[in-house]
């Protein structure tokens, strides 16, 4: 077991190394580009330019440049972009991480719980009006673009009905630190959580329903019935467990991607300065060190989420434990 975990950890490091090399090559080794000028900032003096060139190793071979870059991100943490304005990259990323994590983690808790309930109820009442209603609502949730839904949510809770009893508790847009103001943290995030979760509730509810219905056709379900077990026990103990495998796969991919920056639209709509927003701004300005750092961060989360999914697989399915 420990060996398997260590091996998985080694694989993670290897994948992250690969990603870092590719991203580095794309942005720093593209022919004709002058990264030094980009990093030094607009109208930088020739002294600053020379200093940047020296400090990033742009006058040396590529592998030295790569090593310097990684050193600045992970070891010294003093990676600076727009040097003449003194923009430190690592603290900017560190400040954005809690925002995105809070947003995505809360939404994930919400969507996992609600979609499991919806999937089970729909599968158990298969082909009834309730099943059809839930699936139609799920489809509706999937079809609503998150930026539109977010704006509508804002329109309702921030302006039109803000003064009504229903939404007067909703604080203005923005993020509050959990450590400073836990209640404010929670209240500002409730609407973003719901907005982000609705899409995934639709997808996951439908996926789980389909997986449960598929499991219910298996021979071992017939065995379970022949054993004289109750329908509820058959559903929860025998069908659900095997159905969760597809669910977990999907969750690992989505969670990793969202934490890595895919929650951008939600972040923008609700004025949350998270990783998505940071990456987006960096791309707008071709802020190379910032891109490098956010991509490294994102890849780290995708890789970690995938490793966690692999462990959950092993817990769910003993057939995977042998190898």
């Amino acid at each position: 077991m420990i060996y398997a975990i260590l091996r998985r950890f080694g694989q993670m490091l290897f994948v992250m190394f690969g990603i870092s090399v590719i991203v580095f090559l794309i942005f720093f080794a593209t022919p004709g580009a002058d990264p030094a000028a980009r990093i030094a900032g607009r109208n930088a003096s020739s002294e600053v330019l020379a200093a940047v060139r020296h400090s990033f190793g742009f006058d040396q071979p590529l592998y030295v440049q790569y090593t310097r870059m990684m050193e600045k991100i992970f070891v010294t943490g003093d990676l600076t972009s727009f040097v003449n304005r003194g923009w430190k990259v690592v603290p900017a990323v560190m400040d954005s991480i809690p925002v995105t994590l809070s947003l995505v983690f809360g939404a994930a808790v919400l969507w996992v719980m609600v979609s499991i309930i919806i999937g089970i109820v729909a599968a158990a009442t298969r082909d009834s009006w309730l099943d059809k209603l839930l699936m139609a609502l799920g489809l509706l949730g999937i079809s609503m673009p998150v930026y539109w839904l977010g704006e509508v949510m804002n329109l309702i809770t921030q302006s039109r009905y803000h003064d009504s009893w229903a939404f007067s508790w909703v604080p203005p847009l923005g993020y509050k630190n959990f450590s400073d103001d836990p209640k404010g943290w929670f209240l500002t995030l409730v609407i973003p959580w719901i907005t982000l979760a609705i899409l995934y509730i639709g997808i996951y509810g439908r996926v789980l329903r389909a997986a449960i219905i598929e499991s219910m056709q298996e021979d071992y379900i017939r065995t379970a019935r022949a054993k004289g077990l109750s329908e509820a026990r058959i559903l929860f103990r025998h069908a659900l467990r095997t159905s969760l495998i597809a669910f977990v796969t999907l969750f690992g991919l989505d969670f990793g991607a969202l934490v890595g920056g895919s929650a951008l639209l939600t972040e923008v709509v609700f004025g949350l300065h998270g990783i998505g927003k940071l990456t987006y701004d960096a791309l707008q300005n071709l802020d190379l060190p910032m891109i490098m750092a956010t991509v490294m961060y994102a890849s780290m989360f995708v890789v970690i989420a995938n490793a966690v999914v692999d462990f959950i697989y092993i817990l769910l399915d003993p057939r995977l434990r042998a190898s």
Binding site: A226, K227, G228, S230, H238, P318, R319
Partner: protein, 319 residues
Amino acid sequence: MILSVRDLRVSFRTHDGPVRAIDGVSFDLGESEILGVVGESGSGKTVSLLAVMGLITDPNATIEGSIRYKGRELVGLPPRELRRLRGNEIAMIFQDPMTALTPVYMIGWQIAEQIRAHRGVSKSKAMERVEQLLAEVNFPNPHEAMSRYPHQLSGGMRQRAVIAMALSCDPALLVADEPTTALDVTVQAGILDLVRKLRAKHKSAVVFITHDMGVVSELADRVMVMYAGRVVERGTRTELFSDPRHPYTRALLGSIPPLTGQKPRRLPAIPGSPPSLLRLPQGCAFGPRCPVHYEPCEASKPGLGSGAHAAACFRVAQA
């Protein structure tokens, strides 16, 4: 009488019209008797026993007739009551041991689950019983086997585990649906031995579904041959093998290679294929494939008659 089935009819609604999978099947089963049910795929042998178990869950199915277990009518019994019998008094062994067990739970847990569903015993008591059962079905190391997952066992071992599970509550009636079909021949012999031994020990009545005449000749006390949803011949094993009356039974027996004497160059096969249940002929369903087929067979379906050894054939009635 443990089980008494009268005029059982099962039909399914389909896009192409109703399909009558079982059309008036009747049989009786005495205590600790082994009834062999023979027939090819689609003859309705499995469906009729699933109906007995109350395991036809298809909402498009309708079940008519009477199924009495120890005098108690099972058709129309509320699901709760039926569930109390299932696994407890009536147990079933399935065809494919590879897929019959839930892949994510240990063998011991799965057997104990059934015991605990019907008997109010503690977990450790149930586990003790599981170990005993696994020893009974010849697991070399029952204690260790309890913590095995299904994929860690061979097909034969899995089928033994399924049998142990079926026996866990000492059922009065055991339904075995082709339990040896998916196994190697040597493993088959072991399983048949086991069924025979356990019948003697637990005094369960057994319905053994198979398409293998060889298995029937080894195991069954009485035999029932099915074709296109109807019983075409019934009798004791000796009667059926020494004096087969229905042309279909004769054809089935004729397709077994003889152990002694000269072997035929080619084994005789029954010409044609079983009829579609959607378009059954008005007369005898075996008519189109029957070597002794004549006019009366076209007009109506022959009845089985009431004798202990009976065949549903006009030629037999005539003779």
